[in-house]
Symmetry: C2
Subunit: 216 residues, 2 copies
């Protein structure tokens, strides 16, 4: 239990709550992380919304929504969960694969556990370090825009339009990616990042729906 | 500005934030309550989730979701907003009708304004007094179940099934209302209340979709 606490850089007063946060329903049907995860999700949502509100006071509600979705989406939270290696310490049936969903849930339940073990201040400190700084410092750009263009060239999607603009009163960029009748949005601190982030959502949609249908 | 503060029983240090919370985009396109509302929504979500988590630790995630939806739905928040008479103090174009959506948004923006003007503790106190106590003390039951049965008798809906059960480890009841291919859930501290709450959602759906289509 010490190693996980080292990884997340938070040391619990109540180890039972940490244990619960790491227990999957496949191990304990009654006492597992499910309702902690439910609470953690609302804490992360609140934290990110407040952070965006304070850092970018001039954004419209829609722009705030675009930005928020990139911080609270399952893929990003799962990535952070994997960086902290949380799933390595989880109690989970051996036959169950640690999916993106499960690693995201583990991160959310750990957030709730920190909150219940201490207070909102410590929880914000943890989230600031792990969600905000990782996002800003991340420079590993997978070329989702390139992948998207390949989908277009192969005629898997049609009418691809990528529009990116810098918001007047802030340093951020918003990219709108349209094809068929779909629209996806991405934001970033430069044009490339905004487009990559939007393309990530678009590619995910294509893989989850359009390509799935072709396979079936 | 004093009267509204009396109504909500919170007195602002910074009156500008209160003013912003009461300004609709029809009056000021740039500085209005929209992003405060966005923040307020996440605060209410967090508050209700924590309250449910602590008060009903044995609920499953699904049961928590049912309960949460009744506290954070637009109709309920709008009702509280109307009790506090918030819209009477709003700056809004005279041609715009104060809809359920707008009165709900005003409540959410006032919540964010209280939070930014003070802290989470005061905001929780405000929400506890207005969201929790009003919900628990409310005894004005509109007979939505009766309305639902009339929809069934008039063959507007088919195969109506109402199933209500008391949850083993708590004092609350959950009602599941099914018709056609839809399911709606309600909870309450007694069987009647749970059914009425579920029926409220069901009736709203019938009025918003099935009856709308008949008119068109």
């Amino acid at each position: 239990m010490l190693k996980i606490q080292n990884n997340i850089n938070y040391f619990f007063k109540d180890l039972d709550i940490l244990k619960k946060a790491l227990t999957h329903s496949s191990i304990n049907y009654k006492s597992n992380y499910e309702n902690l995860e439910f609470l953690g999700d609302s804490i992360i949502n609140f934290f990110i919304t407040e952070w965006i509100y304070k850092k970018y006071p001039h954004l419209t509600e829609n722009e705030m929504t675009v930005m928020k979705n990139q911080y609270i989406n399952k893929d990003y939270l799962s990535k952070i969960s994997n960086i902290l290696k949380i799933s390595e310490f989880a109690s989970i049936d051996k036959n169950i694969e640690i999916s993106t969903k499960i690693s995201c849930e583990l991160f959310e339940s750990i957030v709730a556990a920190i909150y219940l073990d201490s207070n909102i201040k410590n929880t914000k400190k943890f989230l600031n370090k792990n969600l905000i700084k990782n996002f800003e410092e991340s420079d590993k750009v997978i070329d989702y825009k390139g992948e998207l263009i390949i989908f277009y060239q192969k005629k898997i999607i049609g009418n691809l339009i990528i529009q990116t603009e810098q918001l007047n009163e802030s340093k951020i960029f918003i990219s709108k990616i349209s094809f068929n009748k779909y629209h996806f949005y991405g934001f970033g601190f430069n044009k490339i990042k905004a487009e990559q982030n939007g393309a990530l959502f678009a590619c995910k949609h294509i893989k989850d729906t359009i390509l799935q249908k072709r396979v079936c």
